[in-house]
Symmetry: C2
Subunit: 359 residues, 2 copies
DNA sequence: TGCAAATATGTAAGCGCTTACAAACATTAT
DNA sequence: ATAATGTTTGTAAGCGCTTACATATTTGCA
């Protein structure tokens, strides 16, 4: 069963192509044989082209082309201890804002020669931990996580294996972990101040689910604290947490709208929820912004185009993806990088907010 | 430098834990040593638990737990020739409808113990080919591709390596390739017939970019052929292809709307474009559907909530993701599966379509 | 021209697992 | 008791690469 024809001193490998059993994929050995060099040289041509003479390099490259040789990733990863693969765990891919980030992340990684191994946690920290282990097992070189609130054990898995990681979508100067993002709390706080500055006192909030989601917590707390700073609370205790869907936004406000003392402004944890609230108001003939102010969070493309256009906080989602890729690749190539990057969010005032009517 | 303490016949491995240099990650050897069994047994416990006695199995599992052992994916893949990884190349992640599909795909794969390696082509066939090679090199066990129009060479890479693949988002009974999806052409054809049935003759279309995108081609051709079947053409030649964005939808119709003979209905290649068209009409005070009918394609959540609600074709995007995972895993485990699955799309008639005004 | 230093290539030892095969042991039939 | 059979475990040969080290070749300089 063993092949015998490996004496490398025969003239011209050209007519002596290795008789591979059938059409099995070619190995580095086959390339070496065809180009009449050692496997080490082939490997060098592929990994550090300039350490090989041009003549040889060309011969090898020609052989690679002729055989349609594709290196075996697992073997490569095993021998070199690097997989050129980056893992990412997002709460859900099915969210415009994460999708954008992922798109840019993936594109940038691809440009650096890295591949993206993707998992989702469905906003569940246990699942996140499990997926993290799976990705680590697959041999990722670096990891991208959303937010920073998670069990210490998850971080430990990464630290133990010396896998660099970064928390995105959040910026926390006091955190021991590297991060790229913005200040959810601060942005929400500012948003609430704006609402109060233009005269609102009766403010309600439809938040995203807070559990296991520190971004949502930051937004909720930011609004709440801003209100408290002026001795206000959520009007009538109108504060609800809902999943990311238009439908949920709509349903949630129904009760509030028929209350004897409805809020004059509703802050939402994200644009999708806000859109739901907006659509519900519209279909109930409640004038926005005259009778009701609405704010979103995220700044998805759509928010600029609905009528009235949604006041929201725009987030640099594409940039987060790109920078996360930059950070990890820099770390992996031992270049220095800032371990924390603060990106700015912007309050975008559009047409769903105005001073409340004076009764 | 070599460790010597490997004689496995010493009493009780319990107090003789392998002195790993520092905190290097434990290897299967370490587990075997701790549990006082061979590495083969450890491997069996991990891969075919029932081929090992309960006593031994428990001892091994205990050792695994104590050491926090995580198998090395690359080594595993190299030795077993399976990576438990599935590749997917989508045009862009940043599109609600693909994101949904990916979310379900990923969730299902994860349930089967597989991981998703993700790449995007940006609707560029060459890039797709390159990404395909990269993924194959990483050692994916199966591949998911969107649409079926691509160079033969791309398919060959997969076939040569015996990697099962499936084209999603499309259904073509005559194709030599397995697929899961629906009939873009037929659905579009039906949509145009509906428009004509309710009286429209002046029909225009804002299509997605057709190049390198057979789904878009199918939709465009479906509309065009339906018109032709009743001796119609795009009114005034009003047919434009535009990128996937609300802004593009808006801009595109501007010219048509100020034309002396505007269309009475505009069919769009996807919901996002349709939304753009709708928003533009609304901001120009053109009544929808009285003065203008608009149709979308995809059935994103939003289309049901805008006012007026968008008439569109709903697509089973989640199902496509789930079924694609099912198919590939079945193939990899040598179970039989249908190689082509036709899913149905549905014309959802809502409030943006009505008979044209009679002049 | 000769010798040291620099550069180019080859040799072969792993990387951490899986698995064919061999060996050991347990079970049943003879 | 012995042989035949089935089951459990161990041994060790790879899987396809990379890379430290050894070797061969070239270059620079006295």
């Amino acid at each position: 069963m063993d092949k015998e024809n490996h004496s490398s001193d025969m003239e011209s490998g050209d007519c002596n192509r290795l008789q591979n059993d059938d059409n099995a994929a070619p190995r580095i050995k086959d390339v070496a044989f065809l180009a009449d060099v050692s496997t080490a040289t082939v490997s060098r041509v592929l990994n550090q082209p300039h350490s090989v003479t041009e003549t040889l390099r060309n011969r090898v490259l020609k052989a690679v082309g002729e055989l349609d040789y594709v290196p075996h990733g697992a073997a490569r990863a095993l021998a070199s201890r690097r997989s050129r693969t980056i893992g990412a765990i997002v709460p859900t891919i099915d969210n415009a804002i994460f999708a954008t980030s992922l798109q840019y992340l993936q594109a940038r990684l691809s440009g650096f020669g890295y591949t993206l191994l993707l998992a989702s946690s469905d906003y569940n920290l246990e699942r996140e931990h499990k997926e993290c282990q799976t990705l680590v097992e697959k041999g990722i070189d670096g990891m991208i996580l959303v937010g920073e609130a998670r069990g210490q054990q998850t971080y430990e898995v990464l630290v133990k294996k010396h896998i660099p990681y970064i928390n995105i979508w959040i910026y926390n100067p006091d955190s021991p972990h590297p991060c790229i993002g913005f200040d959810n709390y601060g942005a929400a706080y500012q948003l609430a101040e704006y609402l109060m500055d233009i005269g609102h006192r009766k403010i309600a909030m439809v938040a995203g689910i807070n559990e296991g989601n520190d971004r949502a917590v930051g937004r909720s707390t930011g609004i709440r604290d801003a209100l408290a700073s002026r001795n206000l609370k959520f009007h009538n205790g109108f504060y609800e947490e809902r999943p990311y869907s238009i439908e949920d936004g709509r349903n949630t406000v129904s009760a509030w709208l028929s209350h004897s003392s409805p809020p004059t402004a509703i802050a939402c944890g994200n644009d999708i929820l806000a859109l739901g609230v907006l659509f519900e108001c519209i279909s109930r003939k409640i004038r926005v912004p005259e009778d009701m102010s609405i704010t979103g969070f995220d700044g998805i493309e759509l928010s600029a185009h609905v009528t009235p256009a949604l006041t929201t906080v725009s987030i640099p989602s594409a940039q987060i993806g790109t920078l996360a890729a930059n950070y990890l690749v820099a770390r992996l190539e031992d270049k220095t990088t800032a371990s924390k990057t603060r990106l700015s969010s912007h309050l975008v005032i559009r047409d769903t907010t105005a001073p409340p009517r004076i009764d």
